[in-house]
Subunit: 230 residues, 2 copies
């Protein structure tokens, strides 16, 4: 399996490249507009064909590269059925599987940050990885105060993710302090937001964050409902 | 083996945490001043004791955390003998080995970016890693136009690194485009600076870069000769 985590500095977004070594088929999770040339370079270096470009949810902090990558490579663009984004090639639902040779990616519906948030659980010969989008972050969790965000739903979604094996590597959609990877066991023990004793306590914690809106939100959300067209 | 790559955004520096699971002894390569609290948090989460803080060379683009980490943790601070930094606990030379339980780190003197540049070759049960400092970057190499930099020396240093096994993972001291890891085989094939046919051609290429000086250079170099004291 070929695996790369890529960092987009302006929005602190992590994009993931996964590829099957035998078939040379690849997918990208949460690609960012403006980075397409880099993705194409990496695909070319490895001799890969991009099959899927996937967004974990409609992002508010950056514009997606989904539409552009489909134009450039002929890949399928995918989002969750709750996103209701008409321009995608197809939608996925909770429990759906996406296969890339021996790599299996299972879609887990994990609403809370937004009402269309998904995580992806990936099993391969190298062990299990969770691409946790903006649901579970390293030592944090995605904000729940816009785009039909819901702290109660997120609490339930987090319980779902914490039930995965403890040695599952956690690869989040963002990090703002330069950390790249964690594990389910590590987050269980050290994520301050997961030390609450009840859903009510979690809701209270999230209600008290008082974060400013993302700088690009008014541009990004409408653009991302059009697969990245500005 | 516990392994983490951490990114410091302002100078685009990668810092590496390596630790032996059994002895719980840890080391940091190229730690950045101002990030000490994060390093201590991570060490605490994993129950680790910091034994060594190592700089690959006297940095010109950020201030080192070597001195501060020694104060805070009692670790040894280490630099190459060519650095001539009097405040370090001890110096290492080409071929020296540093052990952390089963982890062995071999110092490779790789001058060219500066005259005190080292890389570290690490063999463990998880395979080989090269911490290539500012000598070999992903699809690039460190500039050679100050601090006794020398393109001819760097060409020779790069040949030394390229002789390592092709599946050696390459972890550089910086990346400016969000890429995190490569391999010796990948860099041999795709690094544009390694496609030259001779040392003379490499020298010509490096002489033509015309890069601006690092913003922090006038502060960082004198501070780093004092282990980070400003």
């Amino acid at each position: 399996m070929i695996f790369r985590q890529l960092f987009e500095r302006e929005s602190s977004t992590y994009t993931y490249l996964l590829a099957d070594v035998d078939s040379k088929h690849a997918l990208l999770i949460d690609p960012v507009a403006g980075q397409e040339a880099q993705y194409l370079q990496l695909l070319q270096d490895f001799g890969l064909q991009l099959r899927y470009a996937i967004d974990t949810h409609v992002h508010a902090d950056h514009v997606t590269a989904l539409g552009k990558l489909r134009e450039l490579t002929g890949c399928e663009s995918l989002m969750g059925e709750q996103s209701e984004v008409a321009c995608v090639s197809r939608s996925f639902a909770d429990g759906d599987h996406l296969r890339l040779g021996d790599i299996v990616l299972q879609a887990l519906y994990t609403p809370g940050h937004t009402d269309d948030s998904y995580s992806f659980y990936c099993q391969s010969a190298n062990g299990q990885r969770l691409f946790s989008g903006d649901t579970l972050l390293i030592r944090g969790s995605g904000r729940t105060d816009f785009q039909n965000g819901d702290a109660a739903q997120q609490y339930q979604s987090l319980q779902k993710l914490l039930a995965l094996p403890e040695d599952t590597l956690v690869y989040p959609g963002h990090d703002y302090k330069g950390w790249q990877v964690s594990s389910i066991g590590e987050e269980k023990r050290f994520n301050p937001r997961l030390q609450v004793q009840s859903q009510a306590e979690y809701e209270l914690l999230m209600a008290g964050l008082n974060l400013p809106n993302p700088a690009q939100m008014d541009i990004a959300v409408p653009a991302n409902r059009q697969c990245g067209r500005l």
